[in-house]
Symmetry: C2
């Protein structure tokens, strides 16, 4: 059954009209006809089964909701990944797709001192995130922020009880550095914010600001030296596994 994104879905109304783009996709591309069943989500946990109505047009596909579920597949944790987009934008966009598939709640592209990429196309990123949401049948659409400077981002992170910064600075003594999965498992509330730096890593000043200034704990993402986008995906994988391990 095909999944359609309908952010304006009403919690009460049983009749709904798909947006222009989704209508075109349903009627034009997929050639769905009256009587056929589809899935709808508002991207905030609502998960509906609906039937296409006869009074639909190629521009406006109208549906009747026949079953409704709230908080569909809600994760037992929240993860906010702030990551410096890679020089090669394919790698950053690949991260957006994979983190969405595995599970992430919010992504902030970071502008850091050593960033080689100084601009990202948010609209493009949102399309990638949304198609990954549909492909992996999720009822929650991760929030994708505008490119944010590292300093501005730090200022807003106090809301997270658990704040981690992943960086490959070999000068950091191991004892000063916990392992992300371990730290996540140990956490009493599962609300995480993880910072991931650019190819050139965070600058010493940025690390200091994160550690001393904003109380971020330096963490390791494992023994391997990972590319930026791989580190982002490992963070998503670790959060999922840590939350599930803690549940056992």
């Amino acid at each position: 059954m095909h999944l359609f994104y309908t952010p304006d879905l009403s919690p009460q109304e049983s009749l709904h009209t798909l947006g222009a783009e989704e209508s075109r996709h349903a009627a034009g591309v997929l050639r769905l006809r009256a009587g056929e069943r589809v899935r709808l989500t508002d991207g905030r946990g609502a998960w509906c089964e609906a039937e296409i109505l006869p009074d639909s047009s190629a521009r406006e596909v109208r549906v009747r909701i026949v079953a409704r579920e709230a908080e569909h597949g809600r994760k037992p944790y929240r993860l906010h990944v702030a990551i410096a987009p890679t020089k090669n934008s394919d790698r950053y966009e690949w991260f957006l797709e994979k983190a969405t598939e595995i599970g992430v709640d919010r992504i902030t592209p970071l502008l850091c001192e050593h960033s080689e990429r100084k601009a990202v196309r948010r609209d493009r990123g949102e399309k990638i995130v949304l198609s990954a949401v549909k492909q992996s049948l999720k009822a929650y659409v991760p929030r994708l922020d505008e490119l944010t400077t590292f300093r501005d981002f730090l200022a807003d992170t106090y809301i997270y009880k658990y704040r981690f910064v992943a960086h490959c600075d070999e000068a950091t003594p191991l004892q000063e550095r916990v392992e992300l999965s371990g730290a996540m498992e140990a956490a009493d509330e599962k609300e995480f914010c993880v910072l991931i730096g650019p190819e050139g890593d965070f600058s010493p000043a940025e690390i200091a600001a994160a550690k001393e200034g904003a109380g971020f704990v330096p963490v390791s993402l494992g023994e391997s030296r990972l590319r930026t986008e791989t580190a982002g995906v490992m963070a998503a994988a670790m959060a999922q596994l840590a939350a599930r391990t803690a549940h056992r």
Copy 2:
């Protein structure tokens, strides 16, 4: 320091000549000169620091080994991922890169009943694996097999004590299905073989052959519905985390 792959590295000899391709890369592309230091690995755990010698040419870069380490960064587990290459070869090649970065020992591309891709270029795959090895500074090069039919592959898997098959067949009752990370943590020896099916999943006959015939345990890779290549990367992430969790 740049890493060069020298499979013919001798365990005793202190003098070594880089192969044609590596020599061209060192002298031509990187313009390394006599006296400069480089790293060498034989892809089987040897990890050397070497100095470029004056009698090097653009075709033959000669080095003197100044420091040598065995089993560099050896993982506390072994992972063999057998995966059906995706219809879109970029996705399969992306898996090769990421699994290598995160950690895998052997990869077998599988030809399954529902496979949409019936051929893969092993030489291309090996290049991708090797560049990921160099990028992530590893001393072990994962083995990449030729495309193998599902049945032929099963016949050789008895060597693995822990055999898992990941598939999305919703008909599999949950209690029949363990979670990969949990199963890996519980394992006494860390030698895993994980099967990952094509876009169309394994056929019921293939699942039966793996379960009843070859003793594979059906496992879940988490709540999310993952693409083939993402499932492969999750398996690599889970193995690393499970082995480390078990170590704690």
